[in-house]
Symmetry: C2
């Protein structure tokens, strides 16, 4: 056995920041060299950030990405580097470069291009067809990219069959709740089936509606995780792999046979035959605590919010504080993301605001240590009502007047944003946005919708998590216990317009995230009339969602580019049963 030291650099890259990403990659290479790492891996498309979307259609962008790859290759003296970039030769490829000693030794092209969910890779890339083996420090290594590893008969299996001792997968795998566990399970299968060591390097950081959660890991040939990196944090995971000396006889996996081992299914590229001097001190296997399910989601929301704000050049945020649980949770997340000095709350009471709402908002801002402004909306409201007195004469007060209140609040926040350069956070949850229970240009007005993918029932769990982690009441108990209300008319309650959230949320999950039919949802135990009503609410509010700001995806299917629905859509599920 010999010790082969690898480094998994789960870096937080920014889309389009080619120089910045490259500078970061060089810093990690230097850190790895200092730790006697023989091979360092960076995530999929680390040079460009992921996903660059239609920037990929600009030839200038591709050329600049290649120039930066050259810079990285130039810094590979004495260390092998695997890094994701965009290759261009008769078309574009999602590619991994293997560099060593200032030479570009070889390139792998991603085979499986995801084109579902949030992914559009077939819009840009051609699929690779080869599954080469790179011999690095005498170790046979199969490199592949993200989606490739999810297929049992994909390039990893071909590379293992062709003699790879280690599989490196570099990924930009977006987060949803529980996905880290899913990955570890899948990677365990893959490693044990192919009887190879599997090193998985994932991107970290927020990019518009996506969060990449890192959580890089190394699994041994039995499929057991021997090292895990943190989720949601940039870092370098250094692991000493135990490599069998050659000619001690082949190891055996469930599906691997001696005869396959030398079949040579892809090109074999010699990067470096000689092992480095073995590091004197072994690095003990390292693993980190894995988040509990709610804590993991909270951390995703914090990172997604922080990165959106900072990567877009903002440092401070402003938001409405209604005294409700949604805005309270968003404020708590914003404080954890940016620090209390960078969060400004605004209470904007109307004639319909309860006394409790005002005191709860005040109490929350004190608990969080943030500045709170109080700006009553009455004066502008009265102005609108006077201006509209003529056109509205003889009509009943209703949704138009209710929405005006929400829009006055939206305008106040946007005015503060325009004046002081603060980004507006919106506070709507997924249950509301799914049903259109929100006001365009009102509570939907802002730059980032922190909890737009968080169903209301999970909002409560996250609020509870925040308090229990803090060991004290940050979000006041009165906020958590009060009946949900938009407070846009006297005595208004959410249940006047929506089903109770305990029924609504599972119906929404079945319809929005799982594409279940009316019949299938009824079979889950819900009343037909109720299910039809919920489906109609979702179908008829697509136009609102289309004008929503982005927010952090935390479920398997978020609104946004994950779920592409026509606005003009006469399909009505309920009608035909």
């Amino acid at each position: 056995m010999r010790r082969f030291r690898i480094g998994l650099a789960q870096v937080n890259c920014t889309v389009g920041d080619l120089e910045g990403n490259t500078a970061k990659i060089l810093r990690y290479i230097e850190r790895a060299k200092a730790m006697e790492v023989e091979l360092i891996c960076f995530p999929e498309m680390a040079i460009t950030g992921y996903p660059p979307e239609d920037l990929l259609l600009k030839p200038e962008f591709i050329a600049d990405n290649l120039k930066n790859l050259d810079v990285i290759v130039g810094h590979s003296a004495g260390i092998a580097v695997v890094v994701g970039f965009v290759d261009s030769r008769d078309g574009l490829y999602n590619a991994a470069a293997v560099a060593y000693d200032r030479k570009l030794c070889g390139i792998y092209h991603k085979t499986y291009l995801p084109n579902y969910g949030v992914f559009d890779e077939k819009r840009y890339f051609r699929p690779g067809t080869e599954a080469p083996i790179f011999v690095i420090s005498g170790v046979s290594i199969g490199v592949n990219i993200c989606e490739d590893i999810w297929y049992p008969t994909g390039p990893a299996s071909r590379q293992a069959s062709a003699g790879a001792e280690v599989i490196l997968n570099i990924s930009a795998s977006p987060y949803h709740a529980g996905k880290r566990d899913l990955r570890e399970q899948m990677l365990g299968h893959r490693a044990s089936e192919d009887a190879v060591i599997l090193a998985y390097t994932n991107l970290v950081g927020g990019q518009d509606e996506l969060v990449f959660d890192g959580g890089s890991m190394v699994l041994d040939g039995r499929g057991e995780a021997i090292a895990r990196a943190k989720q949601f944090e940039e870092g370098l995971l250094v692991v000493d792999l135990e490599i069998e000396e050659r000619h001690q006889g082949p190891r055996r996996g469930k599906r691997r046979r001696d005869s396959e081992r030398e079949r040579g299914q892809g090109p074999r590229i010699i990067v470096s035959r000689e092992a480095h001097t073995e590091p004197k001190v072994a690095i003990p296997p390292r693993s980190v605590e894995i988040y509990d399910p709610v804590g993991e989601i909270y951390a995703a929301l914090v990172l997604g919010t922080r990165d959106y704000i900072h990567k877009n050049g903002f440092s401070r945020v402003v938001m409405g504080l209604s005294g409700g649980v949604d805005s309270s949770l968003v404020a708590a997340i914003a404080v954890d993301a940016l620090g209390p000095e960078n969060v400004i709350g605004v209470s904007m009471p109307s004639r319909y605001s309860s006394e409790g709402s005002k005191t709860d908002a005040q109490l929350l801002s004190e608990n969080l240590g943030i500045e709170m402004k109080v700006i009553p909306i009455e004066e502008a409201m009265q102005g609108y009502l006077n201006m509209l007195a003529g056109p509205f004469a003889g009509t009943q007060t209703g949704i138009a007047e209710e929405n005006l209140q929400a829009r006055v609040r939206g305008n106040i926040l946007m005015a503060l944003s325009n004046k002081f350069g603060w980004l507006v956070l919106t506070t709507g949850n997924k249950s509301e946005i799914a049903c259109g229970y929100c006001t365009l240009y009102g509570d939907m007005a802002g730059g980032f919708a922190v909890i737009k993918d968080v169903p209301k029932t999970l909002v409560y769990e996250l609020a509870g998590y925040k308090n229990s982690r803090a060991g004290k009441e940050i979000i006041p108990r009165s906020v958590i216990e009060k009946e949900p209300s938009a407070e846009l008319r006297p005595g208004q309650r959410d249940v006047d317009s929506l089903p109770p959230y305990e029924a609504l949320d599972p119906i929404l999950k079945a319809y929005v995230e799982e594409d279940k039919s009316l019949g299938q949802i009824i079979a889950l135990g819900f009343d037909r009339e109720l299910v039809e009503r919920v489906i109609a609410l979702v179908d008829r509010s697509e136009h609102k969602r289309r004008q929503s700001p982005p927010g952090v995806k935390i479920t398997p299917r978020a609104f946004g580019k994950d779920r592409r629905f026509p606005i003009t859509n006469r399909y009505r599920v309920g009608v035909r049963g």
Copy 2:
């Protein structure tokens, strides 16, 4: 020679309206039967409408589409029907059914799946691999779908080689300016290369940001158009094709050889061997006037607006009338789309509105015969300024106050919309939206952005077109001649913030539509500093466009799903030259 009568039904389908689309298809089948048509063609995915986007992920939707296909097949007594639908067998296919005498005789699966621009077909469909020939009334016919015909070596060529005398292409080809001419040119090449008659049936109608322009046509084996249907109108184009009798010897095309004719490259499916009794009276070749370039765009805007309004269940619209050329053009388009009785204009003067603006809005509404309300915004503005006096103390009046005016106007329009059920039309043009010269939740607030893909210089051309077609001044000369201004502060002019539109528009076209690099745009004859400034404006306003309502695509690349840019994007073209 014998007469073979075909019908090209360019129907206006609605996405998701399976029953409505099917009912319409049945009506056209009956009309065709009455005209002794032997074969009638409907567009790509006529049953579902195009594009149904993620409705395709719902198994219930696919099943319902198949039930409706059964209904159509049941109505094919005595007539062959080719109709687009979604086939499902181990995956989904964009498919054409060939039915005759109440039997489903065969199915073609689209080979080339577009996954660029506005298209996401690889998200849903598998590609077909076969290029069958259908023998209908004894005539050998190759059926294929949209994108398939754009490739010289695609299924049409294989079908022609295998003996097809007629190629039927059914399409859902979205409009952009000049695309009809492009299609006729391409189809001419394809017909003459393969020496076949080519019948092209295209969808018509608006769907969210797309307009399908119809313009179905038939070309003879020399590539000459022998019949053309109107653009932007539903209709049935009936054409008598002259088919050579069999065994009179093969015709020769540029690339077609006798040996290929019988090679049988795909399955040969017999639908009906016998010709119908030949219709006694021949239908003379029919062609329609082709639009001039500006008129074509105007017609696209009218249809796109009308269909968005009606298909979403609205009948009336409301919009701000500023006295500027943008809102004047939008009002004219709305009147042509919906009738003057369904368009309500609102003039919302502020202290900065010029007297001319108010009288021009008044004059325009009189010329168009629409109702105009006047609602000055001063009272709400003063309310906001009082409410914000504390937080704004000591700051300079600027963009925050300017945007507030636009937002008060947006709120007024939305309040009228909420109260009376009118859809709000926004009036921003492409030049403004490209540069972010527009206010989120202000002038951007509304349901449909009619001219969001129309550059300012084209706005003027369209205004001139409207007047010249009307033979009188509908859009007042004073509107067209005044200097563009947002009128949000005293003496404000667009040129204070933006380059002159004559320079701006070609730079935007090069950058946004053609992905030209900084160097390439400078080489067109523009100042470097100017080009860098424009590119920076575009790059930094993506967040605004993301919250924009949809509008009609009329250029080769519109903002929206045609151009998918990250908001978080640090790539700066100007920086690196």
